[in-house]
Each structure stands twice: as C-alpha cells, then as structure tokens.
C-alpha cells in the first residue's frame, strides 16, 4: 500500500529555474522525509519535517508540510543540471515502517 503520492510524475525545467514537487499522503503521520535518487543508485536522504513543523530549509531546498491537507511540497531553487534525479517522499506508516511514493523524475536542462 502506498502512503505517499508525488506529483508531477515527471518535470523538465531549464537550469536556474525553480522546481516544485508535491506529495500527498493518506493517513496521519509523525514525520515526512524527502529523498533523492540518481539514476541506478541508492537513495540519499535530503530532509525530514515533523508533523508539528510547517516549513523547513536546507540550502537550496525548502520543504513545506500541511497536515490539514495531508500534503507536502519540495522546492529546489536555482536548479542545476546536477539536480537531475528522482525525488521521493516517504512517510512513517506505523512504528517501524517507512513507506515511499512512486517519485518525481526531475530533468534540469543546461
């Protein structure tokens, strides 16, 4: 069962533009995480936001969380070609599980 769903499935932008990805989930959460995956590699953790937080920043990344709408967004500002990757949101589903969405594929064109 998938807890999170990212939107859009694919996104293509020019270098220097901002990229926004959204994640919706179904049940109550304690935290939500965003991960990045370069093609053919493992996932790398980007940022974690707790349910009592509304916004969090890390470098060029900005994550928001709206628990009333059960949604989160990841904003990458001033994108670079090196940001080309797949991005996944992940939510806690019970005490032990972390459940991932299908991901957004981001292409940044130089």
């Amino acid at each position: 069962s998938q807890q999170g769903e990212e939107d859009p499935q694919a996104l293509s932008i020019q270098e220097g533009e901002n990229a926004t990805m959204n994640c919706s989930y179904k049940t109550s959460i304690n935290n939500l995480q965003w991960y990045r995956q370069n093609s053919g590699r493992g996932l790398v953790h980007l940022i974690l936001i707790r349910s009592n937080e509304r916004e969090k920043h890390s470098g060029r990344l900005r994550v928001t969380l709206d628990t009333s709408k059960k949604s989160s967004s990841l904003l990458i500002t001033a994108s670079r070609a090196a940001d080309t990757a797949s991005y996944f949101c992940a939510t806690d589903a019970g005490y032990d599980k972390v459940i991932f969405g299908p991901g957004t594929s981001l292409s940044v064109i130089p």
Binding site: S1, G42, H45, D92, Y95, D96, K97, V98
Partner: protein
C-alpha cells in the same frame, strides 16, 4: 562516513534458482530494511528487522525470506527465483526506534542490486 554495502550490483539468475542478496552496514543500526523498486511503483517494502533474529513482513513478502544472524548483516533470500522478481533491490538501515515512538530515523541506503531472472 556511514556505509551500507550490498554484495552485488548486478546479478543474472535462472528461474528456480535460490538467490541470496547480502547487505552489511557499519553504523551499528538496529533497524534494517529490504525494498524492491520497479518503474512506476516506487519502492515497496519486502521485509524489515529491528533486531538480531527479528523480522517483520512488509507489504510484499511473498516469495522472499530474510535472515538477520548478526546486527550488521541482513540477507534477502529468494528461495526459487521467478521472472516477476526481476527488479532493483535496495537495502537500508536506520537508527533505533524508541519504544512507543514512531520511526523518525533517516534511512541510509546501499547502492542497490539489480537482479535479472531469466
């Protein structure tokens, strides 16, 4: 640097073969996970373990088993490989969960093992 190492990046096996995928972490993490990743489906949890010799089924455990004899090692076993098990397999570990607390730990992933079953 923290490290999760998966024994094989690429494997090709035949239908019916027994397949072992090994994962080792050097962070002394209690929790370890096996996911499979397929296009359009994202990551799906197969099994996880929160202690040595402990295991819990994830969302898609059918056709798989796991072994956790030592804290640092978590093995995924395909008893009789089938073509629908062709996939990318990802191992991850995370810090311990406090009893009564939800998992708030960052997952550390290996590089993945791409398995093709012919």
């Amino acid at each position: 640097d923290v490290k999760v190492t998966q024994s094989s990046r690429y494997l090709v096996k035949r239908t019916g073969e027994k397949v072992f995928l090994e994962c080792v972490q050097d962070m002394d993490h209690e929790n370890m996970f096996w996911y499979r990743q397929d296009p359009g489906l994202g990551l799906r949890l197969i099994y996880f373990s929160y202690d040595v010799k402990m295991k819990e089924k994830g969302d898609i455990p059918e056709g798989y088993s796991v072994s956790r004899e030592k804290k640092e090692r978590f093995s995924l076993i395909l008893e009789s490989a089938s073509t629908n098990q062709t996939s990318m397999y990802l191992c991850a570990s995370s810090p311990p969960i406090s009893i009564g607390q939800a998992n708030t730990g960052e997952l550390f992933f290996g590089e993945g093992s791409r398995l093709t079953v012919l």
